[in-house]
């Protein structure tokens, strides 16, 4: 494993405000990353938070320029780190 950046400082997909767009920097959790990569959530992809379920969890992320919506839990969104 490479020396970690100040990881805690990085924002995650869960920190997005509704409607806010950001770029995926890296995926923190190797196991979860495999699933996310399969679904097209790769570093460099654009993500936008479109909304959350009524109880705040799960959330809806729109991915990429082809615009498709993924739903994922807060615990999963926390593993998606964003570029500043």
């Amino acid at each position: 494993m490479a020396a970690p950046q100040p990881v805690s400082a990085r924002r995650t997909a869960n920190d997005l405000r509704p409607g806010e767009t950001a770029i995926v920097c890296c995926l923190k959790d190797p196991q979860m990353a495999l699933k996310l990569l399969d679904m097209g959530c790769i570093p460099g992809t654009q993500v936008r938070l479109t909304g959350r379920a009524p109880l705040g969890d799960p959330l809806m992320l729109v991915l990429g320029d082809e615009e498709y919506t993924l739903s994922l839990r807060v615990s999963e969104a926390l593993t998606i780190q964003l570029k500043d």
Partner: protein
Amino acid sequence: MAGTMQDVRPAAPQPDSGGRAPVPERLPRLALIGNPNSGKTSLFNQLTGLNQKVGNFPGVTVDRKTGIAQLGGQRRAEVVDLPGTYSLYPKSLDERVIADLLYNPLSPDYPDFVVVTVDASNLRRSLLLFSQLADLGLPAILALNMTDVAADRGIQLDVPVLARELGVPVVPMNARKGVGLAALRILMADRLAAAPPAGRFWQPEPALRPLLTEIRRHFDLPNDYLALHYAHQFRQLHFLSEADRTFMAELTERYEFDSTAQQAAETVGRYAHINELLLEVVTVTRTERREPASNRIDKVLTHRVFGYLIFLGILFLLFQAIFAWAQYPMDWIDQGITALSAAIQARFHGPLVRLLTEGVIAGLGGVLIFIPQIALLFAFLAVLEETGYMARVTFLMDKLMRPFGLSGKSVVPLISGLACAVPAIMGARTIESWKDRMLTIFVTPLMSCSARIPVYTVLVALVVPNEAWLGIFNMRGLVLMGLYLLGLGSALLSALMLKVVLKARERSYFIMEFPVYRWPRWKNVGLTIVEKVKTFVTQAGKVIIAISVLLWVLASYGPGQRQDQAAAQVQQQAAVQRWPALETERRVASARLETSYAGTFGHVIEPAIRPLGFDWKIGIALLTSFAAREVFVGTMSTIYSVGQDADLGTVQQKLASEEDAQGRPFFTPVRALSLLVFYVFAMQCMSTLAVTYRETKSWRWPLGQLIYMTGLAYAASLFVWQVFS
């Protein structure tokens, strides 16, 4: 290399061919594969129509849908529908089937070529799967589906360039409307003897070469990429022997093969290549950045307040359909069966005729009567699924279900469980996490299925007055709703308890794509209904008819001469007391039943169920309905019809006129309630136990259900009777 393997196949022993005559020329086989929501099911339905059947993949419990497709030039082919997947690295049980099938040329389903459905509006992600299949060396056709959605979004695709870059034929199509289907059929017929695609999309890194060479040599594999998949997945490939797996374990250990890192590197590498390729193929012209309609609909359907209100409304409509609208066709079926029985009995006589009418046809009626409810339920679920709403339901419910150890995806099996636990438990397959799935399967039978409805309605109508409460609520309706809530509550609480006991094997996750909202395709809905009804009739039907026949035999015959002795005794008594002939006949029948095998069973278990307020007659009904609850009403009807006036028609009237030793009505509200709660909890369904075994591949789960639910039923019944009587 792939060619030599195909040559080997017909000579290979086929374990399941049994006594069937050898097929001189087997149909060419093609597999349909694609991402979830890429229109794969539509395409399958378009190609095969009613020519499809559901079976099992050999050795695994996952459904295998196959069908015969008419191709161009009068050629035909067998089409295998594979579970939707995003990549060849399986994340769920369903997806594992794909690996088992595509990595094993000796598999009886091994395809001659694959048709990959891709979503044209989402090409980047769809091509990930395609590029993996191509690298495996499988001959392929690309069905470029949902071109209409892509066009709506201003996405233009250069199809000839795409075909050239991929090295396979590409058919633009709209499977929902059947556009492009004719072209696809012709191409399929052409490609039956196709060569594998030349395109190499991605190469394993050179450092892996020695490992892959050893794997290739050991298994005689045609390419490095297939060998790489063996390295990743050898633990899950069913067709490998124990020795092969040990060999692979040692080998990967020796080369320090890091599956997770390699997979991640591969996926990122593939996307890089696909991105490059798409630069040439895709042009996006967006005149204005308008928010897609789906997003706008989502704003309403997943709204904080309206989201749940709309879901409740839909549930209400569903209940209305199952319990009110279904009543009419159910009555017709009931009348038809009764008329058939009467017609046969009017013409023929003898024990065989009685076995036919009272055993087989009565049993058949018990199965057929549920068809309208099951058809309606699945029509509803299919429409919700087809439109894309179901994904939103799981989204809305996930947080609510999680405290109980379930996930949003458990909601669908739980709702289906209101019709029948058998298809509901099969529906739990979409849940990727092992623990979530086991919990869902375990508690689904507690949801009040439609087989409980006859028991509920008969007993509730017997003891609950048809009166309004607070002026608006119907008392019977309230009690009925209470029973359903009791079922739901116990399912959730049971999951909660089991959650603590059960250790998770793998992580639970909830990453899911929202399909865009679309109108349902009625053909798909129709085919779903046909398939589910067929499954129900054959799976539950076999058991119920068998039980009905068995019950008839047990109630008609008895051990030794006891029945004849009892009958003779009654006749003697009748002669002394000068009973009329009809009365004598009834008392003889009653005595015969009491001394039959069924009556004997009832008496044997009576001490065990007396604390619940039940007698030996109910005991018989309990015993028989341990196989299937539907049998309850029939059994009660058989048992109580003796000793009553012949013209007392319905079961309800029979039960209402039953008296205890003191001459008071036997079915008091408390006794009926005790029986009702027993039926809410008890595991009385062989088919459910069978399907739980099939789905979990372990006797632990069905046995656990049987013991747990029966114990719960006994305790609840005991509580009701002891406290309130």
